[in-house]
């Protein structure tokens, strides 16, 4: 072992406060140190060539640098090592600038400290091990889970870049929640008008394969090499044969509440999700089908001109390999029945915002007419209750659902435009309009007549009059008094919630959820679309409440991440990963749940002991996944787990030198 120690002056930055010659002299006496030098600027070309020459001349195999923070120039020196044919992890840096010369005022003491720090680095370098990053090929195919606007956008972007994408949707059509909306804020574009072209584009794109009525069954593997099983539920309609003529739907005798219209209309047991559904082929809802319930009927099968109805159809399992997975599973809306004070579910005229949205929608259950579910009359006075179940630690979700302020503004505007003689009252806690043109939109709502009352509603109750109206009891913060409003219709801005199956999916993908059940990004600021699991990205509301433009841009962000990955064609892990000493490891796997990247798995090894071959389990690190945090090594009782670059031996050597 031949170690060279180089102490940088950093001009006067280090030299003024640290006696660099003394540091070089003191460390030069350490075992294995064969060469020391103090240099004016180690990072400069001159400094670099000094080190290079010394490596050649003295056959150095390890280099210790006393200079600025390794966070500054570690790569500079590592590259130099590479050029010299030495492993970059044979360079060790003592931070004698940021941690010493710059923060101290007593030169003698600073010099002693600098000597300590360089000695510590030398001691660490005694036990340095060469490290290499693992690289693995990437399967250049993406899976997008969720066919809402975020999923569609992500799929389109990746497909446009020339990579195949599979788009998975659990409903029978893509489109997601946006398909249910009437208009979009703040421009009041017709939601369907801007969405359907994208849906069609996705369906017809040569690089996109749609898997509707399908769910994720199983995921294994890791970045670049995910192996996924998709369950395609039986639609009972042969896709190849069906022409989408709709005869079966017309003739089907079974009627059930239409979930798409929030129960404000009926659909058939064989149905398409909505008129512009993509793919526009019906599916048979076996739970409500008379044939499946009683064995009699079969009208659809009889009527179908292409004999596409197949009652014997079974779920299909499709297996595929992907390089990246984009999660865009969206959200659900909270059913506010638990908030008893709002009377939802007890009085038909207390509805949710999405119900109102459907009512306002020209292709909705009422063709855009407003009506009071209790008597079908047009409502004149509508009270909106904001944060119904959001920002409510007591009986709801503690977070803000983010979009309610804007869509309620949108509703009041639409109502005022379409039905100028309706009055809108909005009870709110705060109105949040962060976003381009949102404040103006809100202003417009107020201007157009919406009355915003600051204060939460404490109770909604039937007024008991002949019209069966409702009395909303609230408080007007401006006037500072309790305020009651007799309302024809009460609209609750219900809370956005993660999908029911979000947790299960998270488990399959190895990603984590926050306390509210939304998926956690890898870093709140700097890795907002990545997850802890490399190669899995988040788009849309599954990561947290957001509006359409945010969801779309996040989706494009995930697409970019996937495209970057595919373009590079391989994944390179960090070199400083965990390492298992199989001799010591007992395979107890206590480390497995500690790993935030699911990089640890159990593996059987064959061992010859006492003349017999025996299988035994050990922990095994997937070096492509491991990021080298060392939480496992901090836990491992036998010390079988170690971190490259920060081995137990190295850290002990450092501690022992100080």
């Amino acid at each position: 072992m031949k170690i060279g120690v180089f102490i940088c002056w950093c001009g006067s930055n280090i030299k003024n406060m640290v006696d660099v010659e003394r540091v070089a002299e003191a460390t030069g006496k350490m075992p294995h140190v064969v060469y020391t030098q103090d240099v004016q600027y180690l990072c400069s070309e001159v400094g670099q060539s000094d080190i290079g020459n010394a490596i050649d001349e003295h056959q150095l195999d390890r280099v210790v640098i006393g200079a600025c923070s390794p966070r500054m120039h570690e790569t500079t020196f590592q590259q130099l090592m590479n050029r010299k044919g030495l492993n970059p992890y044979y360079v060790e840096i003592a931070n004698i600038r940021e941690h010493c010369s710059w923060v101290h005022t007593d030169k003698a003491k600073a010099t002693v400290k600098a000597i300590d720090l360089v000695k510590k680095a030398v001691a660490k370098s005694y036990y340095a091990v060469p490290l290499h990053a693992e690289s693995l090929p990437v399967n250049k195919r993406a899976l997008v889970i969720g066919g809402g606007i975020a999923g569609i956008q992500a799929a389109l972007d990746i497909a446009d870049a020339g990579y195949p994408v599979d788009l998975l949707e659990k409903e029978s059509s893509i489109g997601g929640k946006m398909a249910q909306f009437d208009k979009t804020f703040p421009t009041l574009d017709c939601s369907a008008c801007i969405l359907t072209p994208k849906m069609v584009e996705a369906a017809t794109h040569e690089n996109i394969t749609l898997h509707t009525y399908s769910e994720l069954e199983d995921v294994s593997g890791y970045v670049g090499n995910f192996h996924v099983t998709i369950r395609k539920r039986a639609t009972s309609v042969d896709e190849e044969r069906c022409t989408g003529c709709g005869e079966c739907v017309t003739k089907c005798p079974a009627k059930v509440d239409n979930e798409f219209d929030q129960g404000h209309s009926k659909r058939k047991a064989i149905y398409t999700l909505f008129a512009q559904a993509v793919p526009n082929k019906p599916v048979l809802d076996r739970k409500n089908c008379i044939y499946f319930k009683t064995g009699k009927c079969g009208v659809c099968k009889k009527i179908c001109p292409t004999d596409a109805i197949n009652y014997e159809m079974e779920d299909q399992l499709i297996e595929n390999d992907y390089g990246a997975i984009i999660v865009a599973t969206g959200f659900e809306l909270n059913e506010p029945t638990h908030l008893g004070e709002y009377h939802y579910g007890h009085h038909p005229d207390v509805i949710t915002s999405l119900e109102l949205e459907r009512m306002l929608n020209a292709s909705g259950p009422t063709q855009g007419k407003m009506y009071r579910p209790s008597n079908g009359k047009e409502p004149k006075r509508i009270v909106f209750i904001q944060c119904a179940g959001s920002r409510d630690r007591h009986d709801g979700n503690s977070y803000c659902s983010k979009v309610c302020c804007l869509y309620t503004a949108k509703h009041t505007i639409l109502l005022n435009e379409k039905f100028p003689d309706t009055e809108s009252y909005v009870f709110y806690i705060d109105v949040r309009t962060a976003g381009k043109n949102y404040e103006e939109f809100y202003e417009r709502a107020r201007q157009m007549g919406a009355n915003y009352l600051r204060g939460h509603v404490s109770k909604v109750e039937p007024l008991g009059d002949s019209d069966n109206r409702l009395l909303v009891r609230g408080y007007d913060g401006s006037l500072g008094e309790q305020t009651e409003i007799e309302a024809d219709l009460v609209v609750l801005a219900t809370s956005i919630e993660p999908q029911q199956g979000a947790k299960k999916l998270a488990g399959m993908l190895g990603i984590s959820s926050d306390r509210n059940g939304f998926y956690s990004e890898a870093h709140a600021k700097l890795k907002p679309v990545e997850t802890q699991t490399q190669g899995v990205y988040l788009a849309g509301v599954c990561q947290g409440p957001k509006d359409i433009p945010e969801a779309v841009s996040q989706a494009s962000g995930t697409a970019a991440k996937a495209i970057v990955l595919f373009n590079r064609g391989q994944v390179k892990g960090v070199p400083t990963t965990a390492m298992v000493d199989e001799e010591l490891c007992s395979g107890c796997m206590q480390c497995k749940p500690v790993c935030p990247y699911e990089a640890i798995s159990q593996e059987m090894i064959t061992e010859r002991a006492h003349g017999k071959a025996r299988q035994r389990p050990v922990a095994s690190i997937n070096r492509a996944l491991c990021q080298g945090c060392g939480a496992c090594a901090g836990l491992c009782r036998s010390g079988a787990m170690d971190i490259g670059g920060f081995t137990g031996r190295q850290l002990l050597a450092e501690v022992d030198t100080l």
Binding site: S69, N95, E98, H99, C629, G634, L635, L651, V655, L658
Partner: protein
């Protein structure tokens, strides 16, 4: 008299992403703090196990500091949650054995909290000065 001349030895384990960066920033900002601290870089505070802490004390450290990202900000998502769990246990056990658990300091310092880093070093150093040299966990062969 002794207190004036006694210079405690502090060994600090700083996570690469937050606390080490915070210490770097203190340097970049030319903040001044006592020379007593020696920083060891670790990828994450959860890399530090109790053996390293005790070894530092054995070797004559008067104080040991473990600094990591604030909870929720861990570069590796959950590392500092493990740190706080393990170190709480270590501190309780030290306290239970009558050892000076206050010589082990666990602190969350982010990459931009140079001031906090400086303040922490200053207050820890002066606290240790008041406490005097550590004797309870020290291997006497490291006494000199």
């Amino acid at each position: 008299m002794m207190q004036d001349t006694f210079e405690p030895k502090i060994i600090a384990f700083c996570c690469n992403w937050c606390s080490y960066a915070g210490a770097d920033l203190a340097g970049t900002g030319r903040l001044k703090y006592p020379e007593n601290i020696r920083i060891i870089r670790v990828p994450c505070s959860s890399r530090v196990d109790s053996a390293l802490v005790l070894r530092a004390f054995q070797n004559g450290a008067d104080g040991v500091m473990i600094a990591g990202c604030h909870p929720g900000d861990c570069h590796y998502d959950t590392g500092n949650y493990h740190t706080r769990k393990r170190m709480m246990l270590l501190k309780s056990l030290m306290e239970f054995m009558g050892l000076d658990e206050e010589r082990l300091l666990v602190k969350w310092i982010s990459g931009n909290e140079a001031d906090r880093f400086k303040d922490t070093v200053e207050s820890f150093t002066s606290k240790l000065k008041k406490m005097g040299a550590s004797g309870k966990v020290r291997d006497l062969r490291c006494a000199k």
